[in-house]
């Protein structure tokens, strides 16, 4: 397990020049709008999701300011409803998943030794759709027309009668629009991981982070249709008078809840799973050994992905379901803690058996384990139906899912930011700033959310815009508000750290941490073609493995240099046998055009300009037809 320096490239000067000519893009407006480079798209996902995180965070700060003392009057009830709905919706849909897809976009091709994703133009399209869908939803807020029915938007409250206006139309259409991007991204990840791996990377050598992304993508494939259907029905009910959720017309309001949580519970794992993958990717570098129990962790990932589809009704224990279903969903909800536990113990064993290097990424991983386990403990409490019915819709629930999601997604994301910042920007961050950020975020998080357990148990319901004095809630709410500001300062320090690194950081070497996966075997930041020579992989820890390193050295075979044209190898699905090189598509403006046409479609549906919508559909069809038109270049792929 020695760490090998980056070897002399097996590609000669002429090869590198050709690769550069074929792959590199000059910075210009044109290349900005047409790029299909997974690294640029990945960076955009990260930055855009961070902006949406900031907007959702500011919404939360406004709400905490309102709730600091009893009888707060900073916000009107209408404003408060829109803010808490946008906070939840944006954190779940516009921050967590896209942020983790951003890491996936940047890292998956690098980790598996490919030169791009399987469908680079689809990838660019996915980003533009995400950006436009996010703007579509946030733009409603200044007009006072933002969604206001909570992030899970239960009918009949969200029906046309109880909530007239555009609010919930923005919600339904915005999420349908965003669903296009998420589905496209998920398909892209699966196909990339199946077909684009470097030769020799059989499935049992696939990095854990990529396993997590693939499992997430499969959950998206099977879970997102339920949400899309739900939102389509809501829109049809509200706009065209359909009767899906209207009991007077023979519909049923519980249909919304079932479909929503058939999506919604897998979605918890869709958010957390890539976070767990980041933890498994960060640990080897900072414990100086491979993660303990690789096959067990892979099995746990797959098991979670499957069982997560059998627990949805535990979100509905308080609505009056048949008794039998309580038993089933209670049992399933308890069983799913086992594979989660396996992963936690595997990480603890890794830290116990390794030699800890206490840098900022590892601090965030430790913060993750503490916070996430606390959230898991309250989660196991909810699996008991009787307890669940006592605390449902109280601040105890708010405390629980912030421990799970801040613990399970935000901490790993922060660990990932510090861990891969040198790879993404080519600059090192300042360690002291990183430590400050960790302690502020960690302290702020617990000061904010721990008291919520208490005043939840004391009976404070969630989603109230204010409360009277003398209910034993006052002091604890003030503590939460102070914590929220500490948390905000912590995030500000993270931003300062990132900007400081980009502006002033010292240049990063290819492998500053001694990591084990392939992204550390190429330059920081990687060249446009990622790898001068596509490596031949010989172990689970290719960068620690001398034979893999030698495979890119002198004597590398021409079928892995591929310097003519934009080419990368295709390999077989299971064993990663070399199949054939494929030509990758070049930059194109069509993804942007298609996304703009979809934006026009959704905006015109929102404002009921149906002729414009019809025209937009025609543009969509025409663009897809032109996009997929087989040109005369031999063997290009879309």
């Amino acid at each position: 397990m020695s760490i090998v320096d980056t070897p002399a490239p097996g590609a000669d000067r002429a090869d590198l020049d050709r690769l550069d000519a074929n792959w590199a893009e000059r910075p210009s407006l044109r290349s900005f709008l047409t790029t299909v480079d997974h690294k640029r798209i990945g960076r955009r996902y990260l930055v855009t999701a961070a902006v949406f995180f900031a907007l959702a965070g500011i919404s939360a700060l406004l709400m905490r300011t309102q709730l600091a003392n009893p009888g707060g009057d900073l916000l009107s009830p209408e404003q408060y409803n829109q803010l808490f709905t946008m906070h939840g919706t944006a954190m779940i849909f516009l921050f967590a998943t896209p942020m983790l897809f951003g890491f996936g976009n940047f890292l998956v091709p690098l980790m598996i030794g490919s030169r791009d994703m399987a469908f680079p133009r689809l990838n660019a399209f996915g980003y533009w759709v995400f950006l436009f869908a996010g703007i579509f939803m946030w733009a409603s807020l200044p007009f006072g027309a933002a969604p206001n029915g909570g992030w899970f938007a239960y009918v009949p409250l969200t029906g046309g009668q109880a909530t007239p206006g555009l609010h919930l139309d923005v919600y339904a259409l915005g999420l349908l629009f965003l669903g296009v991007s998420t589905t496209a991204g998920a398909i892209n990840f699966i196909v990339t991981a199946l077909k684009m791996r470097a030769p020799g990377m059989s499935l049992n050598r696939l990095p854990l982070f990529v396993w997590a992304i693939v499992a997430t993508a499969f959950m998206v494939i099977f879970a997102l249709p339920a949400l899309n259907l739900d939102n389509a029905m809501l829109f049809l009910d509200r706009r065209f008078g359909a009767g899906f959720f209207d009991p007077a017309a023979g519909g049923n309001v519980l249909l919304w809840q079932h479909l929503f949580w058939i999506f919604g519970h897998p979605d918890v794992y869709i958010i957390v799973m890539p976070g767990l993958g980041i933890v498994s990717a960060v640990l080897p570098a900072f414990t100086r050994r491979g993660v303990v129990g690789y096959p067990l962790i892979v099995l746990a990932i797959v098991a979670i992905a499957i069982i997560s589809f059998g627990v949805w009704a535990h979100h509905m224990f308080a609505v009056g379901l048949p008794q039998v279903s309580y038993g089933f969903f209670s049992a399933a909800s308890s069983i799913i803690t086992i594979p989660s536990g396996i992963q936690i113990f595997a990480w603890l064993a890794t830290m116990l058996l390794g030699r800890l290097v206490l840098r900022t990424p590892l601090l965030f991983v430790i913060g993750f384990i503490i916070t996430f386990v606390l959230g898991g403990v309250t989660g196991a409490m909810f699996a008991l139906t009787a307890f669940d019915q006592q605390v449902t819709d109280s601040y105890f629930v708010v405390a629980h899912f912030h421990y799970v999601l801040v613990g399970g997604a935000v901490f790993p994301i922060l660990a990932g930011i510090y861990h891969w910042l040198p790879k993404i920007t080519g600059r090192m961050y300042a360690e002291r700033l990183g430590r400050w950020a960790f302690w502020l975020v960690f302290a702020g998080m617990h000061i904010t959310f721990f008291p919520m357990h208490l005043y939840g148990l004391f009976g404070m319901p969630r989603r109230v815009y204010t409360y009277p004095a003398g209910l034993e809630w006052d002091g604890w709410n003030l503590v939460s508000t102070v914590g929220a500001y500490v948390l905000a300062v912590g995030f500000l320090v993270v931003v300062v750290g990132v900007v400081h690194a980009i502006r002033r950081g010292r240049p990063a070497p290819p492998d500053p941490w001694g990591g084990d996966t392939l992204e550390w075997s190429t330059d920081s930041p990687p060249p446009a073609y990622n790898f001068p020579v596509v490596p031949r992989v010989h172990s689970l820890h290719p960068t620690w493995d001398a034979r893999t390193a030698e495979s890119t050295g002198p004597g590398a075979t021409a079928d892995r240099v591929l310097s003519e044209g934009r080419r990368t190898p295709l390999t077989s699905e299971l064993d990663g046998r070399y199949e054939r090189p494929v030509e990758m598509p070049e930059a194109s403006v069509k993804p942007l055009v298609l996304a703009l046409a979809l934006l026009a479609l959704f905006v015109s549906l929102l404002f009921a300009w149906y002729p414009v919508a019809a025209a937009a559909v025609a543009v969509v069809a025409g663009t897809v037809a032109a996009w997929l038109w087989p040109g005369r270049r031999p063997e290009a792929r879309t």
């Binding site: 199946l194 494939i221 997102l224 259907l229 519909g251 249909l255 479909l259």
Partner: protein, 206 residues
């Protein structure tokens, strides 16, 4: 090129040590996954139908809507489901590089699909006088489920027309790939119809 058939072909040492699936393109995987997520969407739709039906009570369809007539949907089935056969025939032609066969097969499938849509239009023309999307939840389910499937047939027929146009310059590896993907989508649209036939037209009579 084609291996000899029979049991020896599948049990030879070479066949046993060959990893399966073999030689699937990224486009093939992309289409299969897309169809998978679409199939899940249809499953959710049909699941919603049964959920609303069994939560509603004994009388279904509700109100004075009669059980759906069977003759026309069965004719529509007889038109749409066999439309996969010329498509399969065209796919075999693809393997042998027979352009005429690919074109003839695609055209036949497309025409059968358009016939299906015409029959659906006559069905709608009749039923819309009895109940509409807004009459009740049954009306909403009926028109959204059948309409969504009809939209898929329309998209499928458009895709076939597009694929036919791409073959104007002859066949090559990339055009083959497009035709194969269109075929996957078309088979999917056919198979889903059987689920809809059972749910919408047959299940109320059970």
């Amino acid at each position: 090129m084609t291996p000899p058939g029979g049991i020896t072909a599948t049990t030879s040492p070479e066949a046993l040590s060959t990893e399966l699936p073999v030689g699937r393109s990224t486009g093939w995987w992309g289409m299969v996954l897309f169809v998978t997520t679409e199939a899940t969407l249809f499953a959710c739709l049909l699941g919603s139908y049964f959920y609303l039906r069994f939560q509603y009570g004994p009388q279904w369809p509700p109100g004075d809507i009669p059980d759906p007539a069977l003759l026309r949907p069965l004719v529509m089935t007889a038109v749409l489901v066999p439309s996969s056969l010329p498509m399969l025939w065209a796919e075999r032609g693809l393997r042998r590089g027979q352009l005429w066969r690919v074109r003839a097969g695609l055209t036949a499938s497309m025409l059968l699909g358009l016939t299906f849509l015409a029959l659906q239009a006559t069905e709608y023309a009749e039923l819309l006088t009895e109940f509409t999307l807004t009459t009740n939840a049954y009306g909403s389910l009926f028109y959204v489920i059948t309409g969504f499937h009809g939209l898929h047939v329309l998209i499928g027929a458009t895709m076939i027309a597009w694929a036919l146009t791409t073959t104007r310059g002859g066949l090559d590896a990339r055009r083959d790939d497009r035709v194969r993907n269109v075929a996957i989508y078309w088979h999917f649209v056919d198979i889903v119809w059987l689920g809809i036939l059972f749910t919408i037209y047959l299940s109320p009579r059970l």
